[in-house]
Amino acid sequence: MPAIEIRNLEKIYNAGFWRKRSKRALRPLNLAVEEGEIFGFLGPNGAGKTTTLKILMGLVFPTAGSARILGMDLDDPRMKAQIGFLPEQPYFYDHLTAQELLHYYGQLSGVDAKQLSRKVEAVLEQVKLSSSAGVQLRKFSKGMLQRVGIGQAILHDPKVVFLDEPMSGLDPMGRREVRSLIEDLKARGKTVFFSTHILSDAEALCDRVSVIRQGELRGVGAVAELTAGVHGKVEIVWHGATVPAGIRSMGAECHAAGETSRVIVPEENQDAALEALRRERLRLISVVPVRTSLEDYFVAQLGAPLKSETVSSRS
C-alpha cells in the first residue's frame, strides 16, 4: 500500500469580487509515494506544490479527485495522528517558548502526557534548540523557527512527514542540519514528502522526484535513473592557472579558481587535452565524466509543452 496516493486531484479557485474568474491551481494530478522513501516534489514558484500539500493536510478542499495517506481518508483523525507537517516559512505563537510550543503540539497530537516532557526534550536536542528551550519564539531567528518547525513535525513520531520548502531561508550550516535530519528520518523508516525548488538538495536526498509546472505533473522518476545519463563530455581539473595552448585551441571554456583550473571537453578530445597538460608539465588533479544532473532533467521537463497546450494546438 502506498504511503501517499493521489488520484485525479484537481483544484480550481474562483477569484474576483463576484468569484467569476476561475484559476486552475492544480490539473488532475496522479501520484503515489511508497512507504519509507524520500520523495521530492519539485517545481518553480507558483507551480502548485503548496496547493497540493494544503489539500493533503485538509487546509484546502479539492475541486475534484481524492487522496489517501496510509490508506486513510484526508479527514480521518487516525491518519492525522500519524503525519507531521512543516509549512513554508513557518511562524509560531509569539509569546510561547519553544518548550511550550512543542508541549502544546504534543498534546494536540495525543502524545501520552507521561512521555511528553521526555519527547520534547529529545526533540529539542535533535534540532539543536535545547539551549533556547525557554526563549519566547518572537525572539527566534528564521533558522531557529525552521528548526522548531521541524521539531513539531516529528515530535509525535509520525510515519509520514510533509515538509514544504524545509531549507527556505537557511544558511549552509542550517541546510546541512536539515538534510541530516531528513536522512535520519529515512533511516528510521519514515516516509518524507518534501517540496523544494533547490535541486541540489533534492538530488542529494531523494529516492524519487516529480516535477510539477503550472499545476500539471511533468514527470516522475528515481533520482539514480534520471542522473545516470552521461553527456559525452569530461571535466579535466589541473593545478595552476596556466591554460595550455592545445586546450585553448579546442575552443573550450576554461575556469580558474584559486590554484586550480578546469575545462569541459568532448570525450573524443580527452586524450589531446591530457597530452597538452603533460607537455606543459602541469599536474593533473582529476578527470571526471560529466553526468546528467537533476537540473538538466528539471529544465527539460519545464521546457516541454504542457499536455493542455498540446491538446489546444491540435484543436
Binding site: M57, G58, L59, V60, F61, P87, Y93, H95, L96
Partner: protein, 258 residues
Amino acid sequence: MNSRVFHIATNTFREAVRDRVLYNLIGFAVLMSAAAVLVGQISIQIERLVVINLGLTAVSLFGIVIAIFIGIGLVSKEIDKRTLYTVLSRPVRRWEFIAGKFFGLSGTLVVNTFFMAIGVFAALAYVSHNLLRSDIGVLVALYFIVLQFIIITALALLFSSFSTPIFSAIFAFWLFVIGSFAQDLRNFAAMTHGVTRWLATGAAYLVPNFSALNVITQVAHGEPVPHSLILFNTIYTLVYSIAVLSAAVLIFERRNLK
C-alpha cells in the same frame, strides 16, 4: 470538555495573558475606578452612585474592547500567520479549534473582569468605608457584564472566521452599539407597520439584546435585580452564543485556508 478543546483554550488564554496590550487596558479600567473615587468626592451624597456607575461602565467598556480586539484576530491572525496550518494538520477538528478559541478568550475575560472588579469594590469600600448588603447587586451587574463579553466573543469569533480583522472589528463594534439599544429598536418596531415592522422586528431580535444585560444604573441606585432576569439572561446568552458559534463553525468548516 474534549481534551483538544481544553488545550486550545489553555493556549489561547496563555497567549492573551502574555500580550501586553491586555495589561494596558486593565490598567486603564483600574484607573477609571480610581477616577470614580475622585469624582465621587466632589459629588455630595452620591459617591456610591458615581463609583458604581463609572466603575462598572469602565469594566464593561474596556472588557468589550478586549473581547473585540483579541476576538477579531482569533482565527484570522492564525490564518495570516499560518499557525493554524500546524494545528489543523493534527487530529484537531475545525469545530474543536473554534470551541477552544471561544473558551480560551472567555476565560481570559472572566479573569480580567475579576481583577477589574477588585478595583471597583476597593473604590466602593473606600467611599463607603464598608460594603453594604445591596452591593450584591454590583456582583449581579458584573455577572451580566461577563455575559455580554461571552456574546461579543462569540460574535468576534464568527466575523473572524470569514472576514479581515478590520471589518470584524467594525461589525462587532456596531453590533455592540445597536445591541445596547435593542429595547429601543423593539419599541420602534412595535410602532411601525407592514414590511418596515417585519424588518425592524427581525433586526431587533437578531441583534444581541445588550440592553437587558445592562443593569448598571439600576444597581447604582440600589434597586434589586429580579431573579427571573438573571435566569432569562443566562439562558439567552447560552442560546445566542451557541447559535453564533454554530454559524462560525459552519462557515469555518467550509473555508479554504489559502
